[in-house]
Subunit: 210 residues, 2 copies
Amino acid sequence: MSMRVYHLFSGGKDSSLAAWILSKLGYEVTLVMVTFGVLDNWKYARETAKILGFEHEVVELPRNILENAVNMCLEDGRPTRAIQYIHEMALEYIASREDVERISDGTRRDDKVPFLDIRKARSLEDRFNVAYIRPLLGLGYKTIRELVNKIFIVEERESEKIEKGDYEVELRYMLKLKGVDPLQIFPKRHVQSRVIGLKMKMMSSAGPEE
Amino acid sequence: MSMRVYHLFSGGKDSSLAAWILSKLGYEVTLVMVTFGVLDNWKYARETAKILGFEHEVVELPRNILENAVNMCLEDGRPTRAIQYIHEMALEYIASREDVERISDGTRRDDKVPFLDIRKARSLEDRFNVAYIRPLLGLGYKTIRELVNKIFIVEERESEKIEKGDYEVELRYMLKLKGVDPLQIFPKRHVQSRVIGLKMKMMSSAGPEE
């Protein structure tokens, strides 16, 4: 029985830890790096994907999703609705593929956005006939910190400076193109992380053990 | 680095699966069977604990917690508030022990009770300086079903008939002692589960792998 899960992946510590947990539970993990085709920053996520040793693929989402998100940022003066929107669209886009039975991400208990409440999570599962798995949802910051420290070598930097594979980078870039300083939309101090190495072997118990 | 977690355990499929996940993440699991000292039904949970191969201990909670819960059942005509109350008291009782740094349970995304919302979960962690881990919180019913089917042999029966180690059994018994039919308080059709065997080796990757 193959248990393939398609996991939204940015190269950060949360989505990396979630992928590691999935593999420990016996899932075959495909890391999905999302792009709108504007920048090639997904390549940073690919570097991390190679370090982790999981299968990975790039999925290009329709450009109009990014344009809608930019407009939400401009309307709201903050990025929360836009980020929530992109995340939901990305999950739906992957879930709608015929070969996909399971999707997952690295969202946490303590995340404000992106986050699907129970109604949205069930709706996603029902509309696309998939299982939606969030390995970090039941974990607080202490637990995530101790697991990350056990497994990964992490680089942490300000959002503006880190080279990372998530869609926030393209969103900031598009705002700049429109003449808007992203620092007027995004919080000024917002530390992002990227996994750059492993402290322990990843795949030692990934497969089924029957 | 020892990562010991004290896990509320009934012998059912949810708390068994949660314990299995914790061991896969490298935690050393102690299964905690709760009793009020009224019945010895915790022995059924101990049978399952032995099958799973984890350390386990019995914790006797103060009898007045059970008495309060019985009164809640009588006041409300349904058991939801009482079950929530017992669960919170059990978590706090274990969390308050000096040797305990991590507690966990098998509560799920789709559970109504017992369930700690984010405010209560954080409050529990802060007041007792513990990490509260819920491995099943980010999993829907499909994912729980496929993992349980992969790992466990499960017996499923009506609540009234199953011999199980959770505190509902003592709550039902105390209601009967007061001359109240538990079927007037608890839902009539309510299937409970108990893990009675393993399909695959449990502890193959339990320890740290450095």
